[in-house]
């Protein structure tokens, strides 16, 4: 950038956004999952007429309410940051983000705020059926709210359904459906909500286990565990399936991220899937950047090729192929992409000069070039490469991407075991005697939070240097403001969110200790 944005500013702007997103995400997944668990419990109450289910529903609804209230609007801070710290980016994507976020606002406001009031104020004031419908609508509405922000994020990972307008310097939506049904967005939505379901299930299991450890509310705890473990195991399978689908899509649209997830430096056929591994510094490097090798690994031979293309002999490109190119495999090099990106930028410069000089014929003809399909698919899609200096800048943090992915997957499989063991103990009637297992359930509460956050670390760290894949690097997106104010607000947010978290945990702990109301 001509205004020489310094690395401190980029680093702190990223850190601030990461901090607010990570804290925001501590509240959201529990809302997504617990809303459905509460709706299922209330359905059991309405169908059976058993007052025990009403007591169970109201207890978990209270915890849902506390989490929802503390977390509500924490996401708005991210929108503040877009306008202040990421103004180039906000302007560049404005029209794409506008529609999904406006829908989110309307859905969230009307569906959630109306029916949440019925959920909490409506007991004994509206009919059982209307109350139940309201609870289900809150669950559906909360999850639909997540859809729109994930559509926006999906577009950043795989920009589709838009055309760049050089006159406004903005991307404009040409196909709402292409943006909505972007494969990355679909995978991301299903994977994210299922991770929320899974997280809420472990949360219910852990707190119910605490009641059993304290020898309190045995029937309440066992029934809660039954709902949570059945819902949790179904959510886990959905999570594994959508995770697999997500990885296949990443292999196609973000191949460098995919190679980094597996720490695959050199491409190969019959590529193995690393089940577990420890990385070490490699002697190989791209430019000034050292790559990674495995100190040791447990690998499932051929499975990575099989997963990406359905063929064991399929070639899976490594980081080196993707940076230097591989003509035999038809993989374009960084240099070639940069040349094409520079041509797109040169066209934009010519357009700007034509406007400045009042050359309307040239201006109109160049504007038409930006509307041409071939120009977009051959040149403009590489626009961001013009702002990337060195080939090695294309490689994300290999250790961070690899470990966040593998730890998330390992935890995902551990949760399936946890739910299966819970069901085993419940059906054998041994759950109250298996105190070690109850402790395991209780101590597992933080684990899905860690797994869920790791999913976001993988998604965002793995796509570096891009803020919008291939179109805009992070360095071009940031606003050139003083890094001092970004640093100051970083610490203000850290204090604000920590206070909110402490408030949530303390109010929740108090409610949990007081137990379900009879």
């Amino acid at each position: 950038m001509t205004e020489n944005i310094d690395l401190t500013l980029i680093g702190w702007s990223r850190a601030q956004f990461a901090l607010t997103a990570i804290y925001h995400w501590l509240f959201v997944p529990l809302t997504l999952g617990l809303s459905f668990i509460v709706a299922i419990m209330e359905t059991l109450y309405v169908r059976s007429g058993n007052e025990e289910w009403k007591k169970i529903t109201r207890f978990w609804m209270t915890l849902f309410g506390i989490n929802f209230a503390i977390g509500v609007a924490t996401g708005i801070i991210l929108e503040f940051e877009f306008g202040t710290n990421w103004s180039n980016y906000s302007w560049f994507v404005g029209d794409i983000f506008g529609a999904p976020l406006a829908v989110e606002g309307i859905v969230a406001f009307f569906l959630e705020s109306t029916f949440i009031a019925v959920m909490f104020f409506g007991w004994n004031k509206v009919s059982r059926k209307f109350h139940l419908i309201s609870t289900w609508l809150v669950a559906v509405g909360s999850n639909l709210s997540a859809l729109w922000i994930l559509v926006a994020n999906g577009w950043m990972q795989n920009p589709v359904g838009m055309a760049f307008n050089p006159e406004t310097a903005r991307n404009e939506m040409v196909s709402f459906w292409e943006v909505l049904f972007n494969q990355v967005a679909v995978d991301k939505f299903l994977h994210t909500i299922s991770s929320g379901f899974l997280l809420a299930s472990v949360f219910v299991l852990g707190i119910s286990a605490w009641f059993l450890l304290k020898k309190r509310e045995s029937s309440f705890a066992r029934r809660s565990m039954l709902v949570a473990s059945v819902f949790g195991i179904l959510a886990s399978f959905m999570n594994a399936y959508t995770g697999d689908s997500s990885a296949r899509t990443i292999a196609k649209v973000q191949p460098v991220k995919f190679a980094a997830m597996e720490a695959l430096t050199e491409g190969k056929t019959n590529a193995g899937l690393v089940a577990f591994g420890v990385l070490k510094e490699s002697e190989n490097k791209v430019g000034e950047k050292y790559l990674k090798d495995f100190l040791f690994k447990i690998e499932l031979p051929g499975l990575l090729s099989m997963m990406t293309s359905g063929d064991r002999d399929a070639y899976v490109p490594g980081v080196i192929d993707l940076v230097h190119g591989n003509r035999d495999r038809n993989i374009m090099s960084f240099d070639e992409k940069k040349t094409r990106g520079e041509l797109a930028r040169k066209t934009l410069i010519d357009y700007k000069n034509a406007v400045k000089e009042g050359n309307t014929a040239l201006r109109d003809s160049l504007k038409n070039v930006f509307a041409e399909k071939s120009f977009n698919s051959e040149y403009f899609r590489f626009f961001g490469y013009a702002s990337v200096e060195k080939a090695e800048d294309l490689i994300p943090d290999l250790s961070g991407t690899f470990y966040s992915f593998h730890l998330m997957v390992i935890l995902g499989f551990a949760f399936i075991m946890l739910f299966a063991l819970t069901l085993y103990h419940l059906f054998r009637g041994t759950i109250e005697k298996a105190r070690w297992f109850l402790w395991l359930c209780l101590l597992s509460i933080p684990l899905p939070y860690i797994a869920s956050e790791l999913g976001w670390v993988l998604a965002e760290l793995g796509r570096q240097p891009w803020i919008i894949q291939d179109l805009m690097p992070v360095s071009a997106a940031v606003t050139n403001i003083g890094s001092g104010s970004v640093i100051a607000t970083f610490f203000i947010f850290a204090a604000l969110f920590t206070t909110l978290l402490i408030a949530e945990v303390s109010i929740m702990v108090k409610q949990i200790k007081s137990g379900p109301k009879h």
Partner: protein, 79 residues
Amino acid sequence: MIRIISRIAGFYADGFRNLSSWGRKVWIIILIKLFIMFAILRLFFFPDFLNKKFGNDKERSEYVLEQLINSPDNHDGKH
């Protein structure tokens, strides 16, 4: 119509009057949080950069266009 509106208003008023202790606490937290976010952070720390710096969309577009076409390795001086 007025009857329906007054019933809805009564429903909300009743609900707020009979808030449980945790309900009161979280409402206080919500209000403090919104005040900090909109009256302090938004006003003093998070102005909309482009809206504050430029008076209209044309100027904003020109500024962002300038940012997009300039990079460290672009020294042809045409712009």
